[in-house]
Symmetry: C2
Subunit: 210 residues, 2 copies
């Protein structure tokens, strides 16, 4: 076994271990905000957290391990989908939630760091994928509900609709690196909704339908 980090400190959750973990996670975020993933070093994190770097290496193994654990923590903090009674408001809630996350200095830096880490590290990639798929699945429910209420066509793919809401925002954030504002979130909702109402998100896979 070369990977001592299961989720860091599961065997002895006693005060010290938990305290160390919290301090390291905190320090990791601080470093990410200041230097980004590229500038993140085990050395600095250990120093900032006030713990021995031996500990950081033993429990997290690498920079990617740190951000992956951070991502896992965020996954546990994620909230359930909205349920306002109308698709538009539900989707808007989702868009604003994403906007809030990527706009927030601390969270935004963390997301970008994990995205960067994932481009060259499997562990980070897995944590990232897992986080978003879970979140997409959670919010896809608002589309299911909308279909049941007759607001959207039967067969509309909820997961795809949710992806379509987030995509333009992340695109601006990491690809074109343009500012992302509330207006963009609103546009994303109205455009996705327009396409969904037109049936563009209906899954028509196998052409054996009747």
């Amino acid at each position: 076994m070369d990977q001592p980090s299961r989720s860091a400190g599961t065997v002895r959750p006693g005060g010290r271990t938990a305290r160390v973990r919290a301090a390291v996670m905190e320090a990791t975020q601080d470093e990410l905000v200041e230097h980004g993933f590229h500038g993140l070093t085990m050395d600095q994190v250990a120093a900032r957290a006030g713990v021995g770097k031996t500990t950081v290496y033993r429990r997290w193994g690498s920079r990617a391990g740190l951000v992956a654990d951070l991502m896992t923590e965020l996954a546990n903090q994620s909230t359930p989908h909205a349920d306002t009674g109308g698709v538009e408001d539900d989707l808007r809630a989702n868009a604003l939630s994403v906007l809030g996350a990527i706009t927030d200095g601390r969270l935004g830096a963390t997301f970008q760091a994990v995205i960067a880490a994932a481009t060259s590290d499997q562990q980070a990639a897995a944590a990232l994928r897992s986080f978003y798929l879970r979140r997409i699945e959670e919010w896809a429910n608002v589309v299911e509900l909308a279909v049941k209420r007759g607001e959207l066509p039967e067969g509309t793919d909820g997961g795809e609709v949710i992806r379509a809401i987030s995509a333009p925002l992340y695109y601006r954030l990491v690809v074109t690196r343009e500012p992302v504002t509330r207006e963009h979130a609103e546009h994303s909702v109205s455009r996705t909704l327009a396409a969904a109402r037109a049936g563009a998100f209906v899954v028509r896979e196998t052409p054996e339908g009747s």
Copy 2:
């Protein structure tokens, strides 16, 4: 002056200089494919290119400088927008072009590397933004043409339509890290088009329109 890299080798385009540049760019891409941006080192690049690392430092300055130059090179190779006579085909051409780029091992790795680099380096970020804005501007023309032909509503924002075509593909590539196939490209086109036809991309800023 601390940045000796103007575009690397502008003064003496003689055989050797050009040869060195080509070798370094080639080696950079190879390294990116194998180790990603995080694993890219000036050392390795120099060794692989068969040039002294002094040269790499002098002409590119840093890892970010390397990827930024690579991005600039790609920008110069980018092709003009399609003009098939119909929006759907034009947009499909765009989607497939993007798909091809991110699916191709070499190009895909390069794009991801620059995206990663841009999260913590200004130079890379600038190169990235510049590349995409230029490309978006180029392809926005197909929407302008479509509007003139009456295929899309007056006032449709071309740049936004093009962004909407790419966004879902990049979202899968770097955020959820799910596979991106031709099917996704097609969906992106049909969904964006549905929204565009419904007028969701019309800019209605000032309500003075008659």
